[in-house]
């Protein structure tokens, strides 16, 4: 198939899968087979695009005219390729996990769950492959809307409140800040295409205007969860854990930081921003988010909440790295999208496995759980090591590049933030590992074993990927470097 056909397939396969899942709703086994088949087909489409992109080609597709002069267009570049690859490959693993989780917990409304999941992946592919800001914005909003039913899955008052916060923050920031930024870009630059080096260079904007526009973008991309617009992410934790794992550790939040990197690299242009010094404030905001969210994570007893705040902090690593505006740090930002994804999904998988097997949700209840669930907690430990940045786990590689980038930029604050946050990461993850393996279980607790098999298989796979990524890093690294304009 040609590149254009593969792009169309990557968008249509999950959408068609959603329809198939809805039709197969009465027969759970058939329905889950449709999910798995769709996920596999999607990965095949995305992999089909990979060789061309690695070879330097940029497959494109334009279909409708959304506004005069702006098409609904797609163009696969390295960063989008990396994001699509991460999301689509983890979807397969997550689907296996979902089957175990949803059945193990006897969740209601499973058909709706799988339908919305498939639609969320379609939206994610749209974001990853979008050729211009308007297309990206269309799928960005679609992703918010199709994940809302997943957040409010339980339908109780807590879910409703969480859903309101989720929608309020994500729709609110995107409509009030991001949309005016996009329209202003159109008014000033006369184009919304993603072009290497940026489209605002010749627009004749003052430095202050560029800075203001950048602020509209950075805070308007609520999915990147910069403080103070991060509250939707902890609120989204009312969702079933597979949703938190794939969507709120990978697809949705990565769509946010992906958009941040896209905007910095392809709308403003790294050189332009560095020249006019319009982004000087951004590392400080990102650094503050990293530290503040880490401290909140440290103080959260609820495991999913701790993971959520850890995600808020990790997302700002990407923003921080991109805002340093050196080629190496931009590559680090791109790579961290992948590295954090595999690590964090493992941690969420473990949290869900713990909940399914023992119905425990708080960190303080986990004493000695490693003896009953050695596989789960072993995977958890690997994920935690990766997020702290200890070799050979995946997180080490991106963090190392970030340190190098910060050093190259001579940004001492960024170096200090990275160092301090590494300590904080260790402080909120290692006690969990310690308690799980080295403390005695409390007396009188119900005895339980491991979670259902599909969940274990899934978390073992992502744990292995976390460890293996540095050794298989050629592809992600090549894509990350190409994003930053280093190498092909």
């Amino acid at each position: 198939m040609s590149g254009a056909q593969l792009i169309a397939a990557a968008l249509l396969v999950p959408a068609a899968g959603a329809a198939g899942i809805a039709l197969a709703g009465r027969w759970p086994n058939l329905r889950e087979s449709v999910t798995l088949a769709t996920a596999a087909a999607l990965l095949a489409c995305v992999l089909g695009l990979l060789p061309a992109v690695l070879a330097g080609e940029r497959p494109q597709l334009a279909v409708l005219e959304m506004l005069p002069g702006i098409a609904l267009g797609f163009r696969v570049e390295p960063l989008g390729m990396l994001f699509a690859l991460v999301a689509s490959s983890l979807w397969i693993v997550n689907s296996v996990y979902s089957i175990g989780y949803m059945r193990g917990n006897d969740e209601p409304r499973q058909t709706r769950f799988y339908v919305c999941f498939a639609l969320a992946l379609a939206a994610t592919m749209g974001i990853a492959f979008s050729a211009n800001l308007l297309t990206l914005f269309l799928f960005y909003e679609m992703l918010t809307l199709v994940t809302w039913p997943l957040v409010t899955h339980h339908g109780d008052d807590e879910a409703r409140a969480g859903g309101r916060t989720y929608l309020g923050f994500l729709l609110g920031t995107s409509i009030v800040l991001l949309l005016p930024a996009i329209i202003a870009t159109w008014a000033f630059a006369g184009t919304l295409e993603f072009v290497h080096g940026g489209i605002l260079r010749g627009a004749g904007l003052s430095n202050a205007a560029v800075g203001g526009l950048l602020a509209l973008y950075m805070f308007g991309i609520g999915k990147a969860a910069l403080l103070p617009f991060h509250r939707w992410l902890p609120a989204a934790m009312v969702a079933p854990t597979p949703v938190s794992a794939l969507l709120h550790a990978v697809a949705v939040v990565k769509a946010g930081v992906f958009t941040v990197v896209k905007v910095i690299v392809y709308v403003f242009g790294v050189e332009t921003l560095a020249e006019v010094r319009a982004a000087d404030w951004l590392p400080t905001v990102a650094g503050f988010t990293i530290i503040a969210a880490s401290i909140v994570a440290l103080r959260s007893d609820n495991l999913k909440r701790r993971l959520a705040y850890s995600t808020v902090s990790q997302l700002s690593y990407v923003v921080l790295a991109a805002s340093l505006l050196t080629p190496l740090s931009v590559a680090a930002a791109a790579l961290h999208i992948a590295a954090h994804a595999v690590g964090k999904i493992t941690l969420f998988f473990a949290a869900g496995a713990i909940y399914t097997a023992s119905h425990k949700t708080e960190v303080s209840q986990l004493d000695g759980i490693g003896r009953r669930m050695p596989w789960t907690m072993g995977a958890f430990a690997i994920g935690a090591l990766s997020l702290i940045g200890i070799p050979p786990a995946a997180g080490f590689l991106s963090k190392w590049m970030m340190f190098q980038g910060a050093a190259a930029a001579g940004h001492h604050v960024a170096l200090a933030v990275l160092a301090l946050s590494t300590l904080l990461n260790a402080a909120y993850f290692l006690p969990i590992v310690h308690a799980a393996f080295l403390r005695q279980p409390r007396a009188g607790e119900a005895v339980h074993g491991e979670a259902p098999k599909p969940m274990l298989v899934a978390l073992a796979l992502t744990a292995v990927a976390t460890l293996g990524l540095p050794f298989l890093a050629a592809v992600p690294l090549a894509l990350a470097r190409a994003t930053a304009g280093i190498g092909p």
Binding site: E65, L134, P149, L171, I175, V176, P180
Partner: protein, 493 residues
């Protein structure tokens, strides 16, 4: 031969269908006549729009009397656009009425509905197509009188009061309009719109022109429900039969907006309008208040029809806001929103009509758990609701895009902030429905599981699909609106 007479036929066919429906009496025959007449007008409007796009404006002389002595029918980018909207919605609501009206009216009154529907369509189409200011008044009266009857047909006794309110205010509006036209005639000695525009600058008495502008502004503003002249609208929409609400909400106020555009830009000219009276500032202020207050009031409504009626007042505010910018992008926003809001509100009220039919009421209580009992209807309301908010991929987004673009180009960033912030209020009131339908347990008033009848659901979903279609492929809608804006500003035709 017939093709040349299309501008006349577009109005005459529904006009003649009305007495025919009365003569035939049988409800099925009346339905068939009304639907066929509206469908003919729709086809004719599409043909006219295509011809205008290809060859420029069409001038048709009624009875071959040349203007300014005879009555001229004039089709240009703007009027063709409105013709398509009115006749399209008219056709869909006529088809929809088959089941909807039958459930709301006694059998022996059904033909009356169809007759009045045809008259109303003919009146609105006539208002749009005519190039003569007094002829416009005649059609305005045809449309108004028939709409009073249509509203009074509502099952609820309060419909009579609502129709009466509308009758009083509508008559005042039409009277003001005709006084204004009379003053213009006094000042210029002509009634042809193009001729008026030519002669007005040399008018002997600027005071008469000023008075005419004021009278016409107030009169037309009453008809288009510009804040604070909107008080007739919520009651009229809430108590009229469902098909009537949908038709009027999607077309009646829009045609009045069209008349305002014609007079401001086609006759008086931007210069005169802003010189004689600070009309831009007045329109801007009223639009802002309309958007803010009506959106907030909508937020507290317990009845879906009233909720979306107040939302209409707010959305009209967005249209007049675009007009007040008086720039190319502002007018594009106004014209395209006139169309986009028409299809969006039409879809919403058609779907709510389905809920009202199944639940015997349209309060928000009836919507509890509706996502399960009427899945297609609920999904339609959600999609049309997204268009109302202005989510990308829907028609409402396109309007918002041009409105914000116009504000940015005028350099008023506070207006940008206002427009985007108020669309969040729209999100809040649409979300009340979503939470009721999808996150609430069915209540005592929730209908039994079962969809809206197909003859009602299909027209509604055609409009829902249009909401998405005109959000993704906009070359026709925005292209026409841009041509219309250029026309109004006196640029290329």
């Amino acid at each position: 031969m017939t093709l040349a007479h299309l501008p006349a036929l577009v109005v005459v066919v529904p006009l003649l269908a009305a007495p025919l429906a009365v003569l035939l009496r049988r409800s099925s025959a009346a339905w068939a006549i009304a639907s066929a007449a509206c469908a003919f007008s729709f086809a004719a409007a599409l043909l006219l729009a295509a011809e205008v796009a290809a060859q420029g404006p069409i001038s048709y002389h009624l009875g071959s009397w040349p203007p300014p002595w005879g009555i001229e029918y004039r089709v240009d980018a703007l009027s063709a656009f409105v013709l398509v909207l009115v006749s399209g919605i008219g056709t869909l609501t006529a088809l929809y009425a088959w089941r909807s009206i039958a459930a709301e009216l006694p059998r022996d009154q059904l033909y009356l509905y169809y007759a009045m529907h045809c008259l109303c369509v003919a009146g609105l189409l006539g208002m749009t197509i005519t190039g003569d200011a007094f002829n416009l008044f005649v059609f305005m009266e045809i449309a108004s009188l028939s709409s009073y009857v249509l509203i009074a047909l509502g099952r609820d006794r309060r419909a009579l009061l609502a129709a009466y309110q509308y009758l009083i205010l509508g008559t005042i509006g039409a009277t003001f309009y005709v006084i204004g036209v009379g003053l213009l005639y006094l000042a210029t000695g002509t009634l042809n719109i193009a001729d008026l525009a030519e002669r007005l600058p040399q008018a002997a008495s600027p005071r008469a022109v000023l008075a005419a502008l004021a009278f016409i502004t107030v009169g037309v503003s009453l008809k288009l429900a510009l804040f604070p002249l909107h008080f007739w609208l919520p009651n009229a929409y809430a108590y009229a039969p469902s098909a009537v609400t949908a038709f009027l909400a999607a077309t009646a106020t829009k045609v009045s907006v069209y008349v305002l555009l014609r007079f401001y830009f086609g006759i008086f000219g931007l210069q005169l309008v802003t010189e004689l009276l600070p009309m831009r500032e007045i329109l801007l202020a009223l639009s802002l208040v309309a958007i803010l207050t009506a959106s907030l009031v909508a937020l507290w409504q317990a009845d879906l029809k009233r909720l979306f009626a107040y939302s209409s007042v707010a959305q009209i505010g967005y249209i007049t806001l675009g007009i007040s910018m008086a720039s190319h992008d502002g007018l594009t926003a106004a014209v395209v929103h006139l169309f986009n809001h028409g299809i969006t509100k039409g879809a919403l009220f058609l779907l709510i009509g389905g809920i009202a039919l199944r639940a015997r009421g349209a309060s928000l209580e009836c919507a509890r758990g509706l996502g399960r009992s009427m899945p297609l209807t609920s999904l339609g309301v959600v999609i049309a609701g997204l268009s109302l908010i202005g989510v990308p991929g829907t028609a409402g987004f396109v309007s918002k895009w041009y409105l914000v673009l116009g504000a940015i180009e005028a350099g008023s960033w506070w207006l940008v902030a206002f427009v985007v912030a108020t669309s969040l209020i729209a999100a809040a009131y649409v979300w009340r429905f979503v939470e009721a339908a999808y996150l609430s347990a069915p209540g005592a008033r929730t209908p039994e599981p079962g969809e809206t009848p197909a003859t009602m659901l299909v027209p509604a979903w055609i409009l829902v699909a249009a909401c998405v279609g005109f959000g993704l492929q906009t070359s026709w809608s925005v292209g026409t609106a841009q041509r219309a804006a250029a026309l109004l500003l006196g640029g290329a035709p």
